[in-house]
Symmetry: C2
Subunit: 223 residues, 2 copies
DNA sequence: CAAAAAATTTAGGCTAGGCTAAAATATTTT
DNA sequence: AAAATATTTTAGCCTAGCCTAAATTTTTTG
């Protein structure tokens, strides 16, 4: 490991993990965008992470990075903290689901393993956070995720909402408003070829809603 | 203010506040000891804090520092966070009173004002933390503290324990063991001139205990 | 497939907040 | 009131993590 795993390093690894989940290697630019940092700064850090002992990422110039086993452990630890914290804030302090992300983003680096264990216990060892995102187990294994973007559904398909992206509070409030929350069933009434809009019926809601891809790409469902 | 009030600055101001509470100005050395930092480094920071706009401390070479109004506000904010957190950890996550200090020392810099307000609400706006230490109000006023060290009592005096120093977990466990906790009444059975030992009877405890000054200087009582 | 555009890296610099060693000032002892 | 000791400050250095500007790939496009 680098002598010490700083807060900054934890953030790099967490975001690299999430980028790796989508496409393959995480690009310098994508990391920079996520962290709100200049690309040149990212390059410097990637070189450092790659030459740490043990290395935390695998880095080849101009080809982005993937996490090593060591790097992944660190990332999963941070993600577990983050998601348990979000659950804890909602359950114990009455936060709304659109208010927890920023708070958890700061706390995730600071709580002890004892704090983590006590939260997990108090919450009954949950496997998903308030947004439906999977929580890595105490021994840092990420459960398999079968879900696909709502945007990939077509007319007449039915599905169950599993999780929603949690980094835009305004989107979260809107989704709550229209009943698009985890474990709710939906059916696609119409797909528009031109703009990708989906008209869907949400279980328990009176009227249909039309959602653009900006929304449907952030909602994940199981068919 | 310095452009930003870093975690480091918060720690300096918090410890300067506590040192000011005892004697007058806080000395470079005392601050260095508390923060576990070289005295030379402290000098540098004091100069910075003194020349910030507005200044956070009043500093005269070789004479230590006191807080300005601005500096005190920052210190009280951090102390309020710390003490509310300690209470919250005990009440909500079942921490023992000797386990909360280190956790709170990290979290105090990271929680939002919203988090602070939610904790205060959930706890019923407490005025003392688990060690009996006073919690500054939401508008950052520190309640008056009348208590004096247990060490200052003499034979036949009675008193009520109000607070105990919280930075030594082993001492806290020992105090809990012998029933020396806030709001408990005691009576001094004997004072030894030579070593300063006090023999005291603790309300609700069968036998008397003899306490040295290492202990009695860390326990504060109201007569 | 060459030229333009985009992405990435290098080079050089900056601030925060530490450190040690040596110099200066205060305080205590004799 | 010196001398010795303790405290504090200065000077010079270092690392972590950022930055911008310029150089270098890599990718896209006409
Ligand atoms: Mn989140
Ligand atoms: Mn989440
Ligand atoms: Mn404490
Ligand atoms: Mn306390």
């Amino acid at each position: 490991m680098p002598e010490t795993i700083t807060q900054s390093i934890q953030d790099y690894l967490k975001h690299i993990y999430e980028l790796n989940e989508n496409g393959g290697a995480a690009s310098t630019n994508d990391i920079a965008t996520r962290l709100n940092i200049a690309p040149a700064s990212v390059t410097g850090m990637l070189q450092k992470l790659a030459s740490a002992t043990p290395p935390l990422v695998v880095y080849k110039k101009h080809q982005g990075v993937t996490l090593t086993k060591s790097g992944e452990k660190v990332a999963l630890e941070v993600i577990r903290h983050h998601r348990l914290l979000e659950s804890f804030l909602v359950n114990t302090l009455g936060y709304a689901w659109d208010e927890v992300h920023n708070e958890a983003d700061k706390l995730e680096h600071v709580i002890s393993e004892d704090f983590e264990a006590r939260m997990a216990e108090a919450l009954g060892h949950p496997t998903r956070d308030p947004h439906g995102e999977l929580i890595p187990s105490a021994d840092l294994v990420m459960p398999a995720d079968e879900s696909c973007p709502l945007a990939s559904l077509r007319t007449d398909e039915t599905a169950t909402i599993r999780r929603v992206s949690d980094d835009d509070p305004a989107l979260l409030r809107h989704l709550r408003e229209i009943g698009v929350v985890p474990e709710v069933k939906i059916i696609v009434k119409n797909y528009s070829e031109f703009d990708g809009n989906l008209t869907i019926k949400v279980e328990g809601q009176k009227s249909n809603v039309v959602l653009g891809t900006a929304v449907t790409s952030q909602v994940f469902v199981d068919k």
